[in-house]
Amino acid sequence: MTFRNPGTGDVPAGAGRTGSGRAAAGRTGSASGRPGGSGRDRRTAVTVAAVWGALVCAALVAGPLALRDRLPDPLATHWGSNGVDGSMSFAAGLAPSLVLWGVAWVFLLVSAAHGEVLNRRGGRAGWWGFLAGGSVFALGVSGSILLANLDAADWRQAAMPGWAIPAVLVAALSTGVLAGYLGRGEPDRPVEPGDAPTMRLRPGRRAVWAGRAANRWMSWLSAAMLLAGVVSGTFLLLGAPAGEAVWAVLLPLLPLAAIVSLVSDVRVRVGPDGLRVGFGPFSWPAFRVPTEKIAWATAERRSPAEVGGWGLRGLPGTGRLAVMVRGGECLVVRRAGGGDLIVSVDDAERAAALLNAYAAEAAAA
């Protein structure tokens, strides 16, 4: 910044977010990106996931192949309340658990290699838990099907023991929890008020900030659900023969599409009266946090894995609420009464700086 407007206090005093800093940091920004998981941790995670995932894939293919002589073809693959009621050819019977695991594996690898999920404790626990639990689940599903089919003369005689499914679920869940516990790593460095960026407000000036966060995938999802709901609703209205089951599936689609659309695009405003978060393309409904109720704010990188997923996330009574549109830069607001508000938004550092300036002004008044 060679040319700074004389005496202009409009630039946050935060970490390197001036013009040249922004350009160097790139579009992802540099907002408080303290990586809790070092590069070494990340490499370890990726290596373990790659090797372990490949082993699981190999086991999912090699197991059935090794036992092929003792298995019927087709295989029994589905059991209902009256015993076995579904079968698939040998190859098709193999595929579901392999595909299930393959998708989860790729997702985990990509998120560890490129994402921020490993940077914080909650994300690390979730990632390791999902890796271990997911592989046990896939192996368990495949193994229990093989066990039921083993030495059966015909798929109709394959019996799935009643304990198999609960056992697989319990094993997957407990392995996941244990792995999450072991992989959680160091606690996150607590954010202190001293880390909060701020800026100078000048009398006679009105400073405001507006920003947004959008998730294109969620918008597409919402549009697809809306389309599916409208198309099938039209068919139903025109009198196409359809059972009640269709209604039961379709009717929830429209409200669900609306909800997903609302959290796929979030608009945030900061002004002298405080924070306003508006949902959806019309920025309505919205909620506000008045300046007096804000202790301080920071910009941090958070991932959906830490807050329990995308959308509006919170537990009543904890005072913690997250508006998670996408992983990455988030505005974190510590309320005066305790409790955090986390909102995904681009350029959150400036928003935090302005909020802190107004909060300090309100506290002084």
Partner: protein
């Protein structure tokens, strides 16, 4: 996008909004290709009419700083050149000086002293 309006600035409001956006782009808080918040949001945050903001955005488009695209909203096309950025800074300096009772000649004198 951080915008500041000077409540005592005698310039028309749309000029001030345009100046504020120009400065935000010049400072690099928005890089070429970045999308601006919708005009409705900016207007809501500033507490002014959306048409005022739209007028400011059109001015900046005519300057070649912004581009309007159907369905994609308004995005930054290029950074203002050094001269335009300096002009904006100088305009603010003069406004600030005016508040302290200094005229342009005195500001020029101060600048001479500094350089």
């Amino acid at each position: 996008m951080l915008l500041t309006l000077d409540l005592n600035d005698p310039r028309p409001l749309h000029d001030q909004v345009a100046g504020s956006i120009r400065r935000a782009i010049a400072e690099g808080s928005y890089a070429p290709g970045d999308r601006l918040p919708p005009a409705r949001d900016l207007a809501g945050a500033l507490g002014i009419n959306v048409n005022t903001v739209l007028r400011a955005l059109r001015e900046l488009r005519d300057e070649g700083l912004l581009e309007f695209r159907r369905g994609r909203g308004v995005s930054v096309l290029s950074r203002p050149d050094a001269r335009a950025a300096l002009q904006e800074a100088a305009r603010e300096l003069l406004a600030e000086a005016d508040r302290y009772g200094y005229g342009p000649e005195e500001v020029i004198h101060i600048i001479r002293e500094l350089s």
